[in-house]
């Protein structure tokens, strides 16, 4: 099943891209999804402790929470925000 992955700020610099599609199982934990991304883009590993995900535009911590994904869902990597 394919989802869209979006990279922002430092994560985009480290991965070298802003978006890609990824094939994932329908049920996957946030941590497993992160590890899959690091497998594809090893330089992401350095920001592991600073990022959260946004799944369908809701923040999700990188933990054991099982994400129930739908085809075409957006999963964004969110480094520490600094707007305003």
């Amino acid at each position: 099943m394919r989802v869209s992955v979006l990279y922002f700020a430092r994560s985009a610099e480290l991965a070298g891209l802003r978006c890609e599609t990824l094939s994932v199982p329908r049920q996957i934990t946030a941590l497993q999804l992160w590890e899959e991304k690091v497998r594809l883009h090893p330089r992401l590993a350095v920001i592991r402790d600073q990022v959260v995900f946004a799944v369908r535009q809701e923040y999700v911590l990188l933990g054991d929470q099982v994400l129930v994904l739908q085809p075409g869902d957006e999963v964004a990597i969110i480094p520490p925000i600094s707007g305003g």
Partner: protein, 143 residues
């Protein structure tokens, strides 16, 4: 204007053009409000001891707008007398002293709009997916 016609509105915009304080404050003006409170965030010339040349902002735009809408909803729950709310954030390059964000809130009396503006900027900084990148001079402190 009948007060029932002056429906409370949220004005949310992320844009790359220069922000206008006049434009944002005019959005929230209401004949039923005696107070318009404003916050303007501008770019400083220093960050962590180094001179900053400019800031550059990027956003997860769709989620940023959704999160700002949530902030507006929370403001109306906490301060029900608030009338209009405007949040404009600039994206892309913002030169020193120019505004990166302008927030305006109107209410009948001053306390609510003053408190609501502070809540808006504090919550925006904590929850809205926008990032800034500083372009700094290397190896030079402030002179």
């Amino acid at each position: 204007m009948d007060e029932s016609e002056d429906v409370p509105k949220d004005f949310i915009k992320l844009k790359s053009e220069k922000l206008s304080v006049d434009e944002v404050s005019e959005l929230v003006i209401s004949p039923y409000c005696g107070a318009v409170s404003l916050f303007i965030g501008t770019t400083r010339n220093n960050f962590e001891g180094k001179k900053v040349i400019h800031l550059e902002y990027e956003a997860y735009t769709s989620m940023a707008e959704t999160e700002i809408k949530k902030i507006c909803r929370d403001v109306r729950q906490k301060w029900p007398s608030v009338k209009h709310i405007a949040v404009h954030h600039r994206l892309g390059v913002v030169p020193i002293t120019e505004a990166s964000v302008i927030i305006a809130v109107s209410s009948p009396h001053r306390t609510e709009s003053l408190e609501a503006v502070m809540y808006c900027i504090n919550t925006l900084k904590a929850s809205v997916p926008i990032w800034k990148k500083t372009s700094q001079e290397l190896g030079e402190g402030l002179s």
